[in-house]
Every structure is written in C-alpha cells, then in structure tokens.
Chain length 247, copies 2
C-alpha cells in the first residue's frame, strides 16, 4: 500500500499551491454534519490560514508517515483511529499517543516527523500542506499562537505520560488508560476500543498479557464489563472506584 502515500505533486486532483492567508477557502471541519462538536474549532485560526487539500484514506495497519521523514503535511483524523510510535533498533515499541476523530497529528515545528503514524483501523484523514508554516507564523501571530496551543496540549500529555511510564503500577496504568479513553470513545455507554491489547501495552509500557490480566482483574472487581461477543467493547460500571485505582 506504499504507493497510496501522498507525495508532493503526485496525487491526481490534489491542489498543490497554498492560498495566502487572507484569501481563505472555507472548509467544513466536521467529519459529518452530525458528529461530535469537539472536532470543530481545534484548528482555530489555522483553519482559515491554511487550506485543507483533501481527504485521504488509509487501510487498517498501513503507515501514514514514518519517523524522520520530512514533514510535508499536517493531519486531522476525519474518521477512524491512528497510533504514533517510536521504535528501538531491536523492535521494542513505544506508542506516544492515540489520535481519534477530530484530533490533529503530525504537526512538527522542525522539518521531520518524530514519530511513525499508522492507521489502527480503516481511517480517513484530512491533509493540510504545511507550505512553510514557519513562514506564515512569522507574519501572523494568531497562527503562531494556534501552533503553540496545539504543541502545549501535546506537551502536557507527554508530561503526564512520563509520570505514568516512570512510576505507576500496571493496574494504575490500565485504569488511567480507561479513564483517558472514556470521554473520547464512550458512546451510548459503551467504549469501543479500536486498538488491540498489544497497542495498549505499547502505549502503557507493559506487555499485552499484563494488560489482559489487569482488564480481567477490573472485570472481576465489577468495575467494568465486556459487551457481547468482543473484548474491545467495554462498559465502565464504576468510574469512582476506577479513578481511585489511578493514583
């Protein structure tokens, strides 16, 4: 599927020249007209200064961009889910974040990506060409502030995750994970996880067996339930006790 990756100037019908700020092109930033409101507005001023070039679809498991590749685009998840990770030379993997509908990812200040991004399920993303973002930000303080706010959000998450990875037990990590995903994924009382146990493990610095045992343990405690046929549909039954487990 490598030929599906967008490369500068090779995608048929892709608009390659950027609009200058001011001559804006309005783009509806919601996935569907009825989608969650949080998806809108995250781009802030950026959505007026930059133009969304196109939507692009990635099949489950395919790479969206690789670590150390030049950062040509900024991405927003329209539908689906994305994981970003770093690898050690022997294959150990650390997932830095999960990106769900509405989330921005792949934003870089420097020239290259610092993570590899992959689609967890079939995923549609919106692409924005960077068009020397630094240059636009030099003249438009509001654009620069938007970039700063997004970067700060990422930094805050990374700082909290350092505490989790450095000092929390396996049960605390899994509890924290569920509490993090709950508001982002739960619809109609059910949390439908798009990612595998291995993905969760690589996000939490554990093995997949330990994640599975922790979930079973929480199940046994009556804190969560599994829905129907699959182990990826979780119902949180006691958020209070779950929160007490995450110190």
């Amino acid at each position: 599927m490598h030929f599906l990756r967008p490369l500068v100037g090779v995608i048929p019908g892709m608009q390659t020249n950027c609009l200058k700020q001011g001559e804006t092109m309005f783009v509806n930033s919601n996935a569907h007209p009825g989608s969650k409101p949080k998806a809108s507005g995250q781009l802030g001023e950026l959505s007026r200064a930059r133009v969304i070039l196109s939507e692009f679809k990635y099949n489950k498991g395919t790479e969206i961009f690789g670590e150390a590749e030049p950062a040509e685009y900024i991405y927003q998840v329209a539908d689906g889910a994305v994981r970003t990770h770093k690898l050690l030379s022997d294959g150990r993997r650390q997932i830095g974040a999960f990106h769900l509908a509405g989330d921005i990812f792949g934003l870089e200040n420097g020239a290259t990506h610092r993570f590899t991004a992959e689609a967890i399920v079939d995923t549609t993303v919106r692409l924005m060409k960077r068009c020397s973002l630094e240059h636009v930000a030099e003249t438009n303080a509001l654009v620069a502030l938007d970039l700063l706010n997004m970067t700060t959000r990422n930094l805050r998450h990374a700082e909290d995750h350092m505490l989790l990875l450095g000092r929390k037990t396996s049960l605390e990590r899994v509890a924290a994970f569920l509490l993090e995903m709950d508001p982002r994924l739960t619809a109609a009382g059910v949390m439908a996880l798009p990612m595998s146990r291995r993905d969760i493990a690589d996000y939490l610095g554990l093995t997949l067996e330990t994640v599975s045992r922790a979930l079973s343990h929480l199940h046994g405690m009556g804190i969560l339930g599994f829905l129907g046929q699959t182990q990826r549909q979780i119902v949180l039954l006691d958020r209070m006790r779950l929160a007490e487990l995450d110190l």
Copy 2:
C-alpha cells in the same frame, strides 16, 4: 525558606511593571562573561520583548515553584541546577527534566505550573515576569514563535523520555542519562553531576540502588571512571561503547 519565594509586588527593589516591547532594556543574558556560549540566545526575540526583573538565589533543596501554582514568572538558570518533578499522592516522584546554567524553565502556556521546581544545589535564577505573555504573543509573531520553539524543544525531550521510561532497560537508561548530561556538564574532561543518585533514579524511573549498580557496572567495564574522593565526578572513558549500550 518559604519567605524567600518571589511574590508579586512584595520583593523590595523588584521592578513590577513591564516594559512594552520596543522600549527594551538590554540585559546581558550570559551567566558570566566567560561562560558557555549556548547560554546566550535561548531567549531569542523574547529577550527584547520581556525584561529580566532580577536575579534570585535559592538554597540547595528549596522549592522555586510548586505544581498547580499560578505561573507568574519565567525562569533561567544563571548558576546552579534545578530539577522539575511531579508527585503521586503516595510520594512516588517522577523528575521531568534537569535544568542547568542557561536553561529556561517554568515556561507555561496556561495559567499554572505543571511541575514543581527545586534547586538541586545553591542556585541563582533570573526571573522574568510573564506580564500576560499571551497578550504580547498575540501581537508579536516573533515572540509567539520563540515560545513555540521553546515548547517544541521541551516536547521533543519528553517524547524521547517516554521511550526511555516505557521500553529501555536499567543499563540503557543510565547510559542514555550519561550521554545526555555529557555535553551539558563535562568541563575539562570531567562530568560533575550536581544531582544525587536518588534524583537520577527518579528521572530514569528506577531506584537509587539500581542506578548505583549500573554505574558500578559501567565502571567495571572500563567505560567510565570516578574521580578522586567523590562519586559525582565522572570521567567518560569510552563514549563509543557507552553509545552502543543505549539502543
């Protein structure tokens, strides 16, 4: 020592009103005339828009600011060393970063600090009042870009540290620590660590005993030597082999 903390408007001789950008007051941003060149320039445009209010001295072990406190100032280490950390409710500690001469710390986009900062040794810092930094950044894109660049540096460090905390072995972590501190601390071939084994452990997500054993192991391998009387003066004897240990 709590009374030593700077509070708005209570420090005798402290200049409380900010200069507007443009009416700049030049402040030498180097610690001493002969100090390392990297200390200068880190503030970028910010050094012209903001004014350095004063220097302030903290004794070894004292708190500079606390987590969740309002962020009134930005700090730069003039001399000494600072650690920033988060605590869990039961006292487990994760150090997010060490800040040495020239480093900026305590920069927040939001209203409050996300870490506690403490002086590791007797430390002199320069304080800059924020003076609603957001407001200045709204009008001056270059200031906003400086903030973005500093935040991006912090983010890159946090991302790399997540990989270390989530997936590296104790020996790899200690090797990475030495390689990180080497260019920042080594002078005349000797690395003089200001921080204790416990600080290093809380930075690397280990115990102080494990850090000590890893250092002894590296010593036994001939990769490093301890200088004279103290265990905090380290000489790196084989950076090549040390780098090979950090995957």
